[in-house]
């Protein structure tokens, strides 16, 4: 018995020691080429569902295999899992070779060292940095550092509106300022109490951030200062968040139920004719999958406080999009770069972005007539003239969580009839800022 106890103790101690010393995980500094014939690719879910993505990507991967002899194993990862999967892969060092990331994560993942830096030499291997739209490259990592990823699909926010509901309420053209938007929303709700002006996704933290960011720009507020410290409680930031939540609390053009939406229910409401307007990124394919005809809806630039969209306080969208990155622990670094080159080639950019309803971040591909449809023209113009990247700081993911949650709480207040005041907004943002510990 005593011997067995001793044996058990030895086992435990050995295991603990192994665990303590084996903490290193994947610590080799960069990839090698020990497995040159295969690649694993984690694609983000861009189409209406995962099967649709597989259908779109599989023939292209076969094409790549024919060209290079490299077999690509595809896994389409849902958005709800993607970041956690990347974190797990980063920690263990055991991940894909090539992966898609949301472009807002670029700086956070860059700080973790998980991704291959795209220095001039690496960019040359895929045809050079100049092939890409500047604003898209701007959202692929912190300023002054080599980008951690390469832009793959670009998106921007637009104002989508229901033409029939506008006509019914006697509105002849989409609003260009927030005042006009509020007035139009009130008209629609006044005509039929079951219909509402604008939709929102109150429970979706990222979406809250995207809207608050664009409004923040219009109020002259960045959520971080030059040194990367959070400035969530600046007057501009408070005013921006308040303006957004006030669409429900004060202006009453958003239905209270939207406060708990987090699964794109606002798009369903839009398709059913319950809401007249939504602010969304490249919504065309989603509307089609909800049974809307392209003639049912129109797209216009997201409103600004006054004047026309542009730079500075006339920014009306974040630079949204998906970047493609090479995992630092890859066993096929040359193959991975070849694959990135393939995915960002002019022909593939046209095909992929056409399939997903997004805009190619590659300049040459944008010239394709497929991207001149009126709604895509709006997105293209926005990206070119009036979009700004979200703060490219390491703490970006924390920002999304803390401020996104604060706004979610304010929506709950607005929906429950609690007053939303400058003080209550400031208090919520103060609490969010205090939780940023890094």
């Amino acid at each position: 018995m005593r011997k067995i106890r001793a044996a058990a103790a030895v086992t435990v101690v050995t295991a603990l020691a192994a665990a303590a010393t084996g903490c290193g995980g994947g610590s080799s500094d960069s990839g090698d080429n020990s497995a040159p014939k295969t690649l694993t690719y984690w694609a983000s879910n861009q189409g209406p569902n995962i099967d649709a993505d597989k259908k779109i990507l599989t023939p292209e991967l076969a094409k790549f295999q024919k060209q290079t002899g490299i077999k690509v194993k595809l896994e389409v990862v849902p958005w709800s899992d993607l970041l956690n999967r990347i974190l797990a892969a980063t920690t263990s060092g055991d991940g894909p070779d090539v992966l898609n990331i949301g472009n807002t994560w670029s700086a956070s993942l860059q700080a973790s060292g998980a991704l291959l830096p795209w220095n001039a030499k690496n960019f040359d291997a895929i045809g050079g940095k100049d092939r890409f739209v500047t604003s898209a490259v701007g959202s692929s990592g912190a300023e002054g550092k080599d980008p951690s990823a390469v832009p793959l699909y670009s998106l921007a926010y637009a104002l989508y509106y229901n033409k029939q509901m506008f006509a019914d309420a006697g509105i002849t053209k989409p609003p260009t300022t927030w005042d006009e938007l509020v007035a139009d929303g009130k008209k629609i709700h006044a005509k039929d109490a079951n219909k509402w002006g604008l939709g929102a996704e109150g429970g979706n933290l990222s979406n809250n951030i995207h809207q608050a960011f664009a409004l923040g720009q219009q109020h002259g507020a960045d959520f971080f200062d030059k040194s990367g410290q959070p400035t969530f409680t600046s007057d501009g930031a408070v005013a921006a968040v308040k303006q957004y939540v006030d669409f429900m609390a004060k202006d009453k053009i958003i239905a209270p139920g939207n406060a708990e939406y987090a699964q794109n229910q606002s798009l369903t409401d839009f398709a059913k004719g319950k809401t007249a307007m939504v602010l969304w990124q490249a919504a065309a394919t989603s509307f089609a999958s909800q049974g809307m005809k392209p003639t049912d809806w129109g797209a216009a630039p997201v409103p600004v406080q006054s004047g026309t969209p542009g730079t500075g306080t006339s920014v009306n969208s974040m630079v949204a999009g998906i970047n493609i990155a090479v995992f630092n622990n890859t066993k096929n670094v040359d193959g991975a770069k070849k694959f990135v080159k393939f995915m960002t080639s002019d022909a593939e950019q046209v095909y992929l972005n056409k399939s997903y309803g997004s805009i190619p971040p590659v300049k040459a591909a944008q010239a394709d007539p497929a991207f001149s449809a009126p709604d895509l023209q709006v997105l293209r113009d926005t990206l070119a003239k009036s979009a700004a990247p979200l703060p490219q700081v390491a703490a970006e993911s924390q920002f999304e969580t803390t401020v996104g949650t604060a706004i979610k709480g304010l929506w709950a207040d607005a929906a429950g009839g609690k007053p939303v005041t400058t003080e209550s907004v400031k208090a919520a943002l103060t609490k969010a800022q205090q939780q940023m510990t890094q």
């Binding site: 086992t11 295991a15 665990a19 610590s27 974190l87 980063t90 973790s112 969580t401 207040d413």
Partner: protein, 334 residues
């Protein structure tokens, strides 16, 4: 107890010696003593190894991580994360600062939630088990129906509840507001203060069948004669429950309440599926709070420190509980 155990083991021993003479010749080096005594340990070995691998090692790693500053800058090479001593703990228990305050708030919410949920689970389980003690037509069917919530996969069940609690199209508002007219306007259940009620409802719905099952099993062990004797003595149903059923169920209840407490206090599925990554303040259970403090904000050192504190708290509560109840049992035995 010993009297009943000795004969089978003696039997087994004699069988072994008589039947395995050949085996002993083939394996001469293993002494008899170990061969006989070692078998149980050999059988236990896979379980012990898996227990180590799945529970104890991760727990130990978690404790190590809680003393490090493991943020996103170090997740790729987390052996190199700097040691931070008790810093993560200091931040977690500094109740004047926002992070500590939020943790404390979450702790109180979890306590209230656990007391309510465990209490109601136990109450419903006991009442239902006693009611179904008598044989009547359809008893088997009722028992089966009562156990359904326990048999359903947690995720599917909770997501259904999330749909029912929706503000606009949910069943709960449809019944309470549209049909019964109990509220002035449709209520929010998944955001704001009502979210606590929603959480308790789902937790009790999910948890009480387990209490029911265990108490039902416990009731089978109470001899019928006791009830017959009591009723001859003129004891009514309520007195029978109080004087016979509940005292007889005591050992069962002790384990049941402890298990329910541990499960409920740690419950992650229910708030995560109901509310997503960030629970409303009124329903901010500690497990989801810790998840947010580590996975969502990538601060694994801080999350681990909070987890270790939670582990310590649960250990202390469990130890006190076991101490109190075993003392009670001993005095009852005397």
């Amino acid at each position: 107890m010993t009297a009943t155990v000795t004969p089978p083991s003696a039997q087994a021993g004699s069988k072994e010696t008589s039947g395995s003479g050949g085996a002993r010749r083939r394996l001469p080096r293993i002494p008899d003593r170990i061969r006989r005594g070692g078998l149980p340990y050999l059988l236990l070995l896979p379980a012990i190894l898996l227990e180590l691998l799945i529970h104890l090692i991760p727990m130990a790693v978690g404790i190590v991580v809680s003393f490090r500053k493991l943020t996103l800058f170090f997740i790729r090479n987390w052996g190199q994360a700097p040691w931070s001593g008790f810093d993560n703990y200091k931040v977690a228990v500094d109740f004047d600062a926002p992070i500590g305050q939020a943790l404390l708030h979450s702790f109180w919410v979890t306590c209230a939630f656990t007391i309510l949920s465990v209490g109601l689970c136990w109450l419903f389980g006991t009442v239902a088990a006693i009611m179904l003690q008598e044989t009547f037509r359809g008893r088997g069917l009722l028992r089966a129906i009562f156990l359904i919530p326990y048999a359903l996969p947690a995720y599917a069940a909770i997501i259904t509840w999330a749909f029912m609690f929706q503000h606009d199209n949910g069943l709960v508002n449809h019944v309470l507001h549209d049909q019964l007219g109990l509220t002035d306007k449709p209520s929010f259940w998944l955001i704001g203060n009502n979210s606590f009620i929603a959480l308790v409802v789902v937790s009790v719905w999910k948890g009480w069948p387990f209490a029911f099952l265990i108490i039902m099993a416990g009731l089978q062990n109470i001899p019928r004669d006791l009830y017959e004797a009591a009723s001859i003595d003129g004891a009514g149903m309520w007195q029978q429950i109080r004087k016979i059923t509940l005292p007889s169920l005591r050992p069962v209840n002790q384990v049941l309440v402890l298990v329910l407490f541990l499960w409920t206090f740690n419950d992650f599925n229910t708030p995560f599926v109901l509310f997503g990554k960030s629970a409303p303040e009124a329903a901010d259970l500690i497990s989801i709070h810790i998840y947010q403090s580590s996975f969502v904000t990538w601060n694994f050192g801080s999350g681990s420190a909070m987890s270790v504190l939670l582990l310590l708290f649960l250990l202390v509560v469990t130890a006190i509980y076991l101490l109190l109840t075993s003392r009670g049992r001993k005095s009852a035995d005397v």
